[in-house]
Subunit: 251 residues, 2 copies
Amino acid sequence: DLLSHGQYETVYNFLSLVIASQLFTAVFLLVSLPRILPRYRQAITVAIIVCGIAAYHYFRIFDSFKAAFVTTSVGGTGDYTQAVGQGFNEGYRYVDWLLTVPLLLVELVAVLALARSVQSRLLARLVPAAALMIALGYPGEISGDNGIRGLFGLLSTIPFVYILYVLFVQLGKSLDKQPAGVRKTLSRLRFLLLLSWGVYPVAYLLPLLNISGSDAWVYKQVGYSVADILAKAVYALIIFHVARIKSFDDD
Amino acid sequence: DLLSHGQYETVYNFLSLVIASQLFTAVFLLVSLPRILPRYRQAITVAIIVCGIAAYHYFRIFDSFKAAFVTTSVGGTGDYTQAVGQGFNEGYRYVDWLLTVPLLLVELVAVLALARSVQSRLLARLVPAAALMIALGYPGEISGDNGIRGLFGLLSTIPFVYILYVLFVQLGKSLDKQPAGVRKTLSRLRFLLLLSWGVYPVAYLLPLLNISGSDAWVYKQVGYSVADILAKAVYALIIFHVARIKSFDDD
Ligand SMILES: CC1=C(/C=C/C(C)=C/C=C/C(C)=C/C=O)C(C)(C)CCC1
Ligand SMILES: CC1=C(/C=C/C(C)=C/C=C/C(C)=C/C=O)C(C)(C)CCC1
């Protein structure tokens, strides 16, 4: 495929934005960790790891992108073509998600500080479903065939819907037991989760729509990038905010 | 465009100066954090993150500059021309500002330690306006067309003026409630902010004036670099000073 200079710069700068967002959210949380009560440090520690894993993978994705698209124009202002002997590795995203999506659910359950047995019961459902969702999406993502992409997208949607069901119905019940100061923030957090997680299947579907090839690919990269910032960095900052308020309340 | 050896060295060394200033302001604040009362640590933590993000982006900008301009002269003393297949990515600055400008406002509001509701009200106005200002500037910056540059520069000035209005009029009221020992420093801080933030639109306009091409570009890079040192590193040190004095007063 061919990318115009504008398309190349758009993907380039969005990938760069994600690196900085994840890396410095992780640093911020690391520096702020002592200001959180020990009870909520597990949630923040997991958030640091999630953002750290993402920063690492985006460094890789960025390098992969730069190696995969090249130009012979002076000042790099012309069209970019695919390099000889190097491709863009979309697999980094799936490796990242396979690790981070279960951890995001751990983070959420940890900040609620529910009874131990309730926590384990929730995670025993959410974590395998999350891993299954990502694993089923991968064969569709790397396949050039739209039929296979659609089929695995559909299969992956089953655990996706199940996760949303658990989060909204099961977890909804325990929201009433949260302190009043954070109840609204927590319920907003679920909507951020729905909104940001919802971007992934939409971005995944783009190549199936009749958008001309490289546009669909650029939108998909931008979509995944923005969703990753919302689902990891912004999400982590809200979790941090909840943990801070609960730390005050408990003090 | 062509850069003379002197122009190349000027930009090179200013970029290098910014890296050192931001990186070591961040390190200084990190080491000094425990000497600040917990109440003001949020402001200093945000300052650390801002300088860290800037240091990271200046490493990138520096590398991008070195890759984008090349010479075939012995000892590098000749003219520098644009490289084949690589351009200078001005986008790093906008990615940086998109993250740091809202954070600089968070930093300022945090060190004032106002009531929670006043803080949220101020930030709910300042942060979106700051993000909008930067996002509107970007299309003008990357466009080669002076008309588009002027148009987006004008649009971006609307949220800019609004931010200054909120800072000077709204925030002015709460200055009276600050301890006497820091009132003068805080009001000076607002002038540093006005002075340093004012450099950006001026540097942005340079290519519109009739300065010959590469001179305007060099002045723009120097202007953005100096302004970044004032608006982030010097600003952070003044915030640190305010936090230290307040820490004594509250003790
Ligand atoms: C439903 C569905 C998908 C869902 C992906 C999701 C929901 C990913 C979430 C990722 C997060 C939250 C990452 C980072 O933080 C796939 C795999 C694209 C395949 C198509 C169907
Ligand atoms: C008004 C205006 C601008 C203002 C930029 C400003 C005010 C940037 C501030 C950056 C800071 C404070 C950075 C680092 O710390 C632009 C976007 C150049 C576009 C032209 C119009």
